[in-house]
Symmetry: none
């Protein structure tokens, strides 16, 4: 694929169905990657990263020990925004949604912007013991990998760029964002891309939220989550026998839902994750509810499952209202959307994917493409070229209390260098 002529680059983007605006000279991969790695600033930045290793580990531990449960990231955001300021960013602030952020100005400042996000929230509830346990270079604690390592790595990258006075073409917005996990429902990145002050300027997007550095997430698994409440008049199980029962409508909906068919590829899934309702064994419940999760690598398949699901809920309600008495009231279902992670894709041919691939290969790593659910979903869905890259590893047990990450020096230093190089290559170096 020819990537040297701007004309053909734009054409490739149009063919890929991706918004082309703002793709800076950064996309001239792989040559720019070689040029970046051969530069004097790169040598300086690399030396800095090696020297910064101890501080990286110290900050990783310190940041992890500031709890950041869903919707309660304030303390960590406050600490993080000060670290962004110390690292030398400008326009440092916490926005209205709680995201900690700052800008590193490029030579074409004020124009198209690259946003680099690493989420500061964890899946763990308030009260979780987040103290880090060390065994040699193995650090164990809830959230230590996903994603405290990502935000610690981002700080080391910024400091290295500053130390080497490494100029980029476009402005780079660095964000420690809230609300990536669970019911956070991507609220941090949604705010930044849909409402935040830079929303019209962000034309490329990188999330630091993967495992080892060969991993490149270029597709966003879409998901829809509902809490469906079935309500009815309720009543005594014996005295009012014959009245409609919302548990029957829900049972029928679950049984029907369990029988739908979904493709194996593109991977598409559905789940009934929780049920609740009713007050006593001898009362017809007045209310029951269930929590539903549907996901797909394909926007079209997700839409199909969603439509099938909503139709099933209505059929189950109609059936129950048809076979039992509604003299005290009917069954009604209220499917409330409690999660909406937009689907999206950055095509393999997109310059941001090509550039990231070139960087990964330049470090002797094997690119491993995946489709996942990260902050990049929102960017992809809006047509903004986006990838999610690694935070370094090895590590494991993400979302479990015994989560761990290994900060062996050589691998850790390399992870920071890879991430820095991706950011430089995507933002462009004059």
């Amino acid at each position: 694929m020819t990537r040297s002529m701007p004309g053909s680059r734009v054409l490739a983007l149009v063919l890929a169905g991706v918004v082309a605006a703002g793709v800076a000279p950064a996309a001239q991969a792989p040559d720019p990657v070689q040029r970046i790695r051969a530069s004097a600033q790169y040598a300086q930045a690399s030396t800095f990263i090696e020297a910064d290793y101890d501080r990286f580990v110290r900050e990783l531990v310190a940041l992890n020990e500031i709890p950041a449960p869903p919707f309660k990231e304030q303390a960590r955001a406050k600490a993080y925004v000060e670290m962004l300021r110390d690292a030398g960013l400008s326009d440092v602030e916490i926005d209205a949604e709680g995201n900690a952020m700052g800008v590193r100005k490029g030579t074409a400042t004020g124009g198209p912007m690259l946003a680099v996000l690493a989420h500061i929230d964890t899946v763990f509830p308030e009260g979780t013991d987040v103290k880090v346990k060390r065994q040699g270079t193995r650090l164990a604690a809830p959230g230590i990998g996903d994603n405290t390592r990502g935000i610690a790595l981002m700080l080391s990258v910024i400091r290295a760029l500053q130390a080497a006075k490494f100029q980029t073409t476009s402005d780079v917005l660095f964000v420690g964002n809230v609300g990536e996990e669970g019911e956070g429902d991507l609220r941090g990145v949604k705010y930044i891309l849909r409402q935040g002050k830079y929303k019209d300027r962000i034309k490329q997007f990188i999330a630091i939220d993967g495992g080892e550095q060969g991993n490149i997430t270029r597709g966003g698994v879409g998901s829809l989550r509902y809490r469906v409440t079935f309500k009815g008049p309720g009543g005594h199980s014996y005295g009012a026998f014959g009245l409609v029962n919302p548990a029957y409508a829900m049972g029928s909906a679950i049984a029907r839902f369990s029988r739908i068919t979904v493709p194996i590829t593109p991977k598409t899934t559905f789940n009934v994750g929780a049920v609740r309702g009713g007050t006593s064994v001898n009362s017809i419940p007045a209310e029951v509810s269930m929590d539903i999760d549907m996901r797909s690598e394909s926007c079209a398949e997700l839409k199909k499952v969603n439509e099938a699901f909503l139709a099933i809920v209505q059929q189950a309600v109609d059936e129950e209202n048809g076979v039992r008495s509604t003299r005290e009231g009917k069954i009604a279902a209220d499917p409330k959307l409690i999660g909406d992670r937009p689907c999206g894709e950055t095509l393999p041919s997109a310059p941001i994917v090509q550039t990231t691939t070139a960087v990964v290969k330049a470090f002797g790593l094997t690119p491993n493409y995946s489709i996942s659910s990260t902050d990049s979903n929102v960017a992809m869905n809006m047509g903004i070229p986006a990838v999610t890259i690694g935070r370094g590893g090895p590590g494991g047990r993400a979302h479990a209390p015994d989560e761990w990450t290994d900060v062996e020096r050589k691998g850790s230093v390399e992870a920071v260098k890879v991430a820095m190089t991706v950011i430089l290559a995507v933002a462009g170096v004059p």
Copy 2:
């Protein structure tokens, strides 16, 4: 039917298959009813009941606003036992099961005893708003009819008997008992009749737990209750998609159960009263469960529904294990019996039914016999002559959040008089 000779009375009881021991002169209906209503004490007691109306309503509201969820009746029992003491009973206490009770001694004290029970528990869980809403004489609140009205009525009866110094032949044990509803499984009355200090002396039994005063419950509907737990391996909704899901097995069981047919006569019913399980929207549940209630006026029909239900649970489990992957484990269901209300009957010819009928007719009301599930089931099953009588009305929506009862003065006063007269006639007046 001749009822004046003790011999023939005993014969009738034996023919009825009911234990005859301890049936006191009380059973000489209908003449004793006329005698009671013509007495000077009756006139005094009636005048008292009319004057006591405002207090009755005040206590009904106050008692209802002390929550009494299943197994958490302590606060109400404590308040009620003090009210029994104030009303003038002796041997006032809360027994080991939590029943609030006291004795009103008869002239043949120490001999056969009449037990009068009104349950203090409600079906509503902790945290339910039990504040009473008034619209004229219409009081609405969870539990207001079933059975706060019953326990308030009992207090007014006791006070009237005391005020008129109305002597009975047998001792009368008045009980505000626990555990009538739901999972309480008749634990209060079971304790009193099977283990309590008066167990060998209680030879007649009245429960105050019906609607309007014409209603006489002389049959005990049998019921079987299960908590069925469905377990499986669990897993991530996306990563482990395709594994068996216990919510699907339960949904299928509910859908099948909702479609079984039962006879209208003898009345037979079934219910799914509560469901629960699962920890998060994006996890396949490891465990879900449901609470099931089945009842019948006929022991044979109850057996049939029970067998159909257990077969359905097994079919639903087998189906789920057949259509999804069991590589991490299978679905298994455990139907645990959580309620077993014995069937029983007091024959229409039994003196306690005849006496109650005579009282109801004496007040110009039409007796309406029914078979229900009340504290009387346990007595009937043990061969103790028992009826459940009304607490007064009109009212409705028992076990629903919008339950109501009407305390219009004339009807309310009459309800107390009817209950008092039944108790007097059954306990016997020298």
